[in-house]
Amino acid sequence: MSRHKFFYVIALALIVALSCPLSVFAQEKVIKIGALYPMTGRAGLYGLDSVDAAEMAIEEINSKGGVNGYKLELTNTDSKAKPDYSVMVAKRYITQDKMHFLFGVVSSAVGLAVTEVSKQYKKIFIGTDHASTQLTTDKFQPYYFRVSNNTFQSMAAGALYLKELQQVKPWQTIAYIGPDYAYGHDQWEELRYNLDRFGVKYKAVGEYWPKLFAPDYTPFITSIINDKPDILVSGFWGGDTVAFIKQAQPYGLFKKTLYFHPDAGGNYELMSAMGTELPEGLVLSARHHNNWPDTALNKEYVEKFFKRTGRYPTYAAEGAYAGIYAIAEAVKKVGNPDDTEALVKALEGLKIQLPEDPEGFTSYIDPATHQVVQVQAIGVTKPNDKYPPAKMMLGDWKIYKAEDLLPPKDYADRQKKK
């Protein structure tokens, strides 16, 4: 009986603790931003970095008095990277918590589900990290805006890089390895589309589709060595990139073929996880780089993030940072965070100076697709220990003009027809 009583008391205490009201949003003049980042699981680091960067941007803006007398406030709920749960939270944000903006999202599947809620309730959704091109093409809806590059832009930059490379170091064969799900397949399709668009002649000699989060890549590595591609394009993200590179290195794969990974390969996460083990000469890119561009704004952003968290940011962080500034700029233009239609107009074509913008360029949101238009830089791994624990960083940059990376006008129609 006493043991029962003890459990009942604990259960009761938990219920009481949980029924305490949420932090009160009663202050006046607040721009409420409801974020949905995963804080657990494989994408947890992306969520953690995004929340830290968003809060850093909010502190910067609020310390200068906010926007038109409004303070920004971010609430994040762990999306668990689950679309059905995220839909429920998004609806709570809009109908219950009266948030002004939906924000974030790492997984494209969650992004696609949340954009549907945003469309239904006519509430602006600022996408900061998910890469699926569909959101700004065939699944486009007027209340969605994305402030980081999508896979199409990365692959367009990748195709241009390969075109230039062919002129200096003629290559003929290409192969692709990527996780066997939508993100992996999209990248390969978009790269080939762009190679054809830019008139690059090539022969595809292999496609390899390991499972997402696969622990063993050995069979794929031996197949790649047998197929002897000049270029191996990779579409992994996160821990899969690390595992693949670690397992491929003893086979001497990177001496035989050029490893080319233009979407998520250049993420700082890879450099910090691999340290000195990361081979030199890999060609990588990402949506933001800690050591490019060499501008005061980028340096300040990276240093501030480091001071705040004790680690250097992954690319996801800059997307969230950009998202907060985009919201602040839009509210500044409109004067309040309540007039959604006016905010949509303000965000369309909005120009915003971001850490990833090189000298002389300002990112802007394309009014037709609501996709941010940004420069993309592709680099090669080189020794550099300025950003510990990384021992290699990217260098020998090739820069691609933002306008060259956008999908052609008929691209959305083409996708819809498929």
């Binding site: 949980l18 762990d78 549907e116 939508a182």
Partner: protein, 319 residues
């Protein structure tokens, strides 16, 4: 079933209708309606699952197969033929489920215990893999979005009452099954299948029947959920969906007919309340589950019934 227990069930049903029927009037926002929808649908799913697990003793770890099948039937038909096909698609999902559950059921019921559990898990995972990788047809990991019910059902409140009506009818049907002679045979199968055979009853036929019935309502839950969230995802086929429904049943009490429904309610509300406050939601849910398993082994409803019985006995003794 005696008269007093029948009256009690009618009172319970009335109370159930009153509570859930009044949600559209007392809700503060659309979100509450959605939460109630989740509770109803998962509750029905959990009760149907428990007919298999708690009543017949068949722990299926693959009911997500039918939950996903119901959802994807609706999703794919609506995506390709428009939202006017929402209801026919729901029906199609149920018909497909009957066919597939008979075929799969004929294979899985040949095994019992942990082998049955593992085989059901394998079928569930197979369906998940196909959905996840057949990108051109199912949309792969992107899932399917924009699944809107058409006509009157487009209205959230009407859809809620539609769900409520289907859930009430389903639970009533399952309750009748549980209390029928077939229900008695199922309980006997759980306790001693050999003896049931000696008594001249067919064990496998009854197992197959309840497997099909339980799967049917799992598919109905999936189809209805597609209309609530308006988007679906291969995760619905994943073993975690099967795991979640097991957790709901265990939490509420597998020995009680309504236990799993209460379990579903508690888990959904806790996930929502805890998830809104902390990212350590899994820790809190873990602690709650630990308390439940150690302190309330009969589940919430089982323990409450136990307490009520003890209180009544105390009153008799004192009286």
């Amino acid at each position: 079933m005696n008269q007093s227990s029948g009256a009690r069930e009618i009172i319970l049903l009335g109370l159930f209708l009153l509570v859930f029927g009044s949600v559209p009037f007392i809700k503060q926002s659309d979100y509450h309606l959605m939460l109630a929808n989740h509770v109803l649908i998962w509750g029905m799913f959990a009760v149907a699952f428990n007919m298999l697990f708690g009543v017949t003793g068949m722990l299926s770890f693959g009911q997500a197969l039918y939950y996903g099948l119901g959802a994807y039937s609706v999703g794919l038909v609506v995506k390709n033929y428009g939202s006017a096909m929402f209801l026919p698609a729901l029906g199609l999902g149920l018909v497909l489920t009957i066919v597939i559950s008979i075929l799969v059921g004929l294979l899985v019921i040949r095994l019992s215990g942990v082998y049955f559990t593992v085989l059901t898990l394998a079928f569930g995972q197979l369906a998940w893999q196909i959905t996840f990788r057949w990108y051109r047809f199912t949309g792969g990991d992107d899932g399917i979005q924009g699944i809107m019910p058409s006509g009157l059902l487009e209205n959230h409140t009407v859809y809620y009452y539609f769900t409520l009506a289907l859930v009430v009818v389903s639970i009533w049907f399952l309750w009748r099954v549980a209390n029928s002679p077939m229900g008695l045979v199922l309980r006997c199968i759980r306790q001693n299948p050999e003896r049931v055979r000696f008594l001249g009853r067919r064990v496998r036929r009854n197992q197959l029947r309840i497997y099909v019935i339980s799967s049917f309502f799992a598919a109905l839950a999936g189809g209805l959920m597609a209309g609530v969230t308006n988007s679906i995802h291969p995760d619905m086929f994943y073993w975690t969906s099967s795991g979640e429904v097991i957790l709901m049943a265990v939490l509420g009490g597998i020995g009680q007919f309504f236990g799993p429904f209460i379990g579903a309610t508690v888990i959904i509300v806790i996930q929502d309340v805890v998830g809104a406050r902390t990212e350590y939601w899994s820790l809190i849910i873990g602690i709650i589950m630990m308390i439940m398993v150690l302190g309330m082994p009969k589940g919430l409803v089982g323990e409450i019934r136990g307490l009520m019985a003890r209180y009544a006995a105390g009153k008799v003794n004192r009286g």
